[in-house]
Symmetry: C2
Subunit: 420 residues, 2 copies
């Protein structure tokens, strides 16, 4: 069942009236950034609606979060404000509401075609954390490197393993990715310097923190979702050869910090509510500080496409689903702050590679090609184990409603040659 | 040889006229933050000097970096501007210069007693990175956990191992530190939740990035020091029991992210220039991208004091030196960006624990007490293996000149009970 809007929205559009994801955009080159929501093939400038008096929420009047170059201010306002804004936007966009529909000057000023605006990074990310929450992914990688019997590390089923990533190099979809240079150690050869030869993707999703917490005051798992604003697609580009040589004992560093791509539209938890499903059974039961009664997973279909310079469109190489994740976002956030670690609005927490149970659902080339032993054959006859210069990777995702979608748009990046 | 100032400065003061470290302070509670330099027992408000026309540098007039709540703007201006400002400040403070000395209104407005101002975090830290650059520390820890023969991991002598830390929880000296809660696994028992019982320190120093680099454009090692603004003391508080259970395979996370303390005064590379010394011989020779011709170490004496609630003053438990570090700051920065990772002004890169060759120079309780097997005996007769609630840790450091010091003040923190 879908509520019609006066804006025509195809049923397979990511941006139905049930979605209304937030993003930061420039309507024209050099124009000041502002906050909008995606609707069909358009972006609706929220700042224009506020100025025209069509969108009236007290906290929004006070903070003016839509005339900002990031969503951080809006994220900090909390769920009651997010809900009030969402409700008014849905009313304004409804087919039967004349307020915006018949106000041509405001409609003209507020609506821009999506393909004519420049999308920016949605938030100023204070800290970026990456988890490792797919059991299938951890098992696959563990099997490759330690054998099947020792695939999962002893801590993995007891806590959501994660690490701190690099915030400065998180970029928005569409930014080209330069192949990293670095130090590797192939086999028994001495360490060498040069371009990474095992450039990979990781299919992930991430959530942005809404209101934060004070240092020393953990967020209880039962409250965690009140601190989650919304989700994006994340491609955690990975240089496997650099990572392999550097990561003992302190974890991934240069193998990951050269770039992380996120989709520009932040889909809110409100929009995703109809798609909540139980996650995998957790056995052994987590410690009480990680237990929440409500289902913590979301049914979001994910796809990775790969396009070489010889191809006209991306070819799907992976289909997975966000619901496969073992650890929920609420558990990740509760665990992250149990030490007293403070979150700030706009912090990004990513899931780790989302691999499913079948071989075509693995979220990295490392797994899809099983360390390069099973090359992917593309429609052009070309094969790939890892990425080559000029390759483009496109990640997409959506939740399927009854005749409508709540989708994420895409996280896209093309590989440029290394500078070394 | 020391240049006298019209401000009386004891020879053992950290803040000689040769130092002039930068910090951010409030002259009175609630007053807007501004940038000053420490001189003797005073802080000199640079913003007042600019307004009064006593400090005249074109880029400073344009950017007004001293009327800011952080040093980031000043850090971004680069070495020629830093040098011009330093030179003018040294002239203004010299005994024979009447300009400031005899201008009572400006002098009164610009000079505040250090013990009457509130010091703030010196920079807005976009990303915080922690290295692991002391060979002695890595060897000690490796010996404890893997035995003497496998102490250093295979990569350690080839690259400066590091990882991404948590920027949000970096706090300035004086902020109390709450003992973290978390998950630990003592021996063969099942995992449990509770306060960390093995709360430790790490004696480190860190440097702040000046001008950054663009994503995809590494900073060559020969240029690296042009991107280094100055140094602070760093206490990388560590919960060893949390760290031990969580850190495989992605590195330290909650065991570190509950707090990191830095000293408020940033000592510039200019001030430290006379104390440059060759670092340890690097054998095997690093790859060319990590080689620099100039000596990359600095002779900075470091001390850690521990004060229990029963004591009147901190008791020294460690004396070490920054010059022991195997990997230089220039090497750390070149390595960090070799992947194309972008630095932003104000990013913090810490050294890792600075342990020296002797047992009294180890920079952590883990090493000083050898995993708790050799408790430290304090003058009160109390003993410590790891920190107890109410304990205060004070880190200090200075370079000793001929009759003057270039010092860092202190990085101080007191342990509060856990919230669980």
């Amino acid at each position: 069942m879908t509520t019609p809007s006066f804006i025509s929205i195809p049923s397979d559009s990511d941006f139905s009236i049930h979605n209304l994801p937030y993003g930061v955009f420039r309507p024209s080159p050099g124009a000041p950034p502002r906050v909008g929501v995606a609707i069909g093939d358009f972006v609706l400038d929220c700042s224009v609606l506020v100025e025209a008096g069509l969108l009236v929420v007290e906290e929004v009047q006070a903070a003016q979060p839509f005339r900002k170059p990031s969503l951080n201010a809006f994220m900090s306002l909390g769920r009651p404000v997010w809900q009030a804004v969402r409700q008014q936007l849905q009313e304004l966009l409804a087919a039967e509401t004349a307020t915006l529909r018949d106000n041509e000057p405001v409609r003209e000023a507020a609506l821009h075609r999506l393909d004519q605006v420049e999308m920016l990074l949605p938030a100023t990310i204070g800290d970026y954390t990456d988890f490792y929450s797919s059991r299938e992914h951890a098992t696959n990688v563990g099997t490759m490197f330690r054998g099947k019997d020792n695939a999962l590390q002893p801590n993995w089923l007891h806590l959501p393993v994660g690490y701190h990533g690099r915030a400065s190099s998180v970029v928005v979809s569409g930014i080209d990715i330069r192949r990293p240079c670095g130090q590797t150690k192939p086999g028994d050869d001495p360490p060498q310097y040069g371009p990474s030869r095992l450039l990979d993707i990781e299919l992930e999703m991430g959530f942005f923190v809404g209101p934060g917490n004070r240092l020393g005051e953990p967020i209880p798992v039962a409250d965690a979702e009140e601190h989650i604003f919304g989700l994006v697609l994340v491609n955690d580009w990975s240089a496997r050869d650099i990572q392999k040589w550097e990561y003992v004992p302190l974890g991934p560093f240069l193998g990951k910090n050269f770039a992380t791509t996120v989709s520009p539209w932040v889909v809110t938890l409100e929009a995703l509510a109809p798609f909540r499903v139980p996650g995998p059974t957790q056995e052994p039961a987590p410690l009480p500080y990680l237990q929440h009664p409500h289902p913590g997973a979301f049914d979001i279909q994910l796809e990775v496409g790969l396009q070489t310079p010889e191809m006209d469109a991306p070819h799907p190489i992976c289909r997975s689903n966000f619901k496969h994740l073992y650890w929920s976002m609420a558990q990740q956030l509760a665990h992250h702050t149990v030490s007293g670690c403070n979150m700030r609005s706009g912090d990004l927490l990513a899931s780790g590679t989302i691999s499913g149970p079948t071989e075509d659902s693995y979220g990295s080339l490392l797994e899809l090609t099983w360390r390069g032993s099973k090359p992917i054959v593309l429609p052009t006859g070309e094969t790939r184990t890892f990425l080559q210069d000029g390759d483009t990777v496109v990640m997409k995702g959506y939740a399927q409603g009854d005749g409508y979608r709540v989708g994420f748009g895409e996280a896209r990046g093309r590989i440029l040659p290394a500078p070394c």
